[in-house]
Symmetry: D2
């Protein structure tokens, strides 16, 4: 599978099959899946705790460490896809719609080169 | 945009353009993007705090509340796609590779209908 | 040590000594300690993922599981105390000051028996 | 109230009274309170997203920004104290017991001046 070939629907399908064959629909309420996204993402973040930005970037140059990172990212994505699949969220549509809002909150001429939150721009 | 049409690469491209026109590469280290995934996912989770599973599920039946949920999911996905795009992670590949591992950790005959962690199966 | 005897300052002192003898001040910026609070708390939360409220409560009746919970809570508290100690936060003062604000946001006659957020009261 | 005077039990009592007068015991299961700790801590962390370590430290020198930080820390502590109070966790005991374990995992001669995780020491 590759990002250049696969649609988001195909990824959702993969996750759905994995969970349905295990009869997990009963456990996959939106509250628990949101917990899942947070806790998996926190495992990713945990790798960077007390590390400098340079150390963090270097993790991606080390094959063993990169693989660990990619596993954590995959676990997070799994939960996010499962939530979207179970509760009928079209991720592409939701993303482009939200980005249109962000585009107004962060006008290019104000936000260019800035790390400020929209409320401080 | 729709999940049935769009590849993951297309979503990444969208996010990349949004950030590059704002000259944000300098701020988007893996540590800060991981913080971004966690904090956006925590905003999603916050909606379900002190709510029952039934209340949580009902949010998706109320158009206004559903839209709020979808915005939070989109924000989380944005950060995840940006991390993958900046640090060359093929999400489809990472997902299918990690799911092959999970498939062994959670054999169907043991995990079917169970909410136990693999270490307790 | 016991909650009925120990002041918050005494707990802070304990954490400070542990970190200073290891020469860790250099790593304990507010950003990393906040990451620490989130990631430790996420480990606690992870125990409850896909579990019912009843299962979650029962963890505290099982001595082995209770000990695991208490370790996670202790790790979270450690990070919080360290942040307060490093950046001169008087936790008792901060707590009582914030609770005075919450007291107005959640007036008893409106919030009694309700799980609504103040903005929905 | 001040950290040098107040015992942990006194803080717990304060939180307990606030919640009991609002009849909130029914909502305060361990799963939801753990969600509470994570989401409040994530709000604290959110202030530091995309900020440098220097910017993060400087927040504590600006009275207005410091107050915002202290409010977030107080919200996190509130949830942690409530969990401890509801489920009979003696925080001082739990902390000192866990620190005795950490003391062995991070021997001074190995961990001094190091930001490595115990598993990498």
């Amino acid at each position: 599978m590759k990002d250049s070939k696969n649609t988001v629907s195909q990824l959702k399908k993969l996750v759905q099959q994995f969970c349905e064959v295990r009869d997990w629909d009963q456990y996959h309420g939106p509250k628990d899946l949101s917990i899942g996204i947070v806790t998996e993402a926190a495992e990713l973040l945990d790798h960077f705790r007390f590390k400098t930005e340079t150390e963090a970037r270097n993790y991606f140059k080390d094959p063993k460490k990169r693989l660990e990172m990619e596993h954590e990212v995959a676990d997070t994505l799994f939960m996010l896809l499962r939530l979207a699949q179970m509760y009928d969220i079209d991720l592409s549509k939701a993303l482009s719609r939200k980005m249109a809002i962000s585009n107004k909150k962060y006008p290019v001429h104000k936000s260019k080169g800035s790390n400020k939150k929209y409320s401080d721009l």
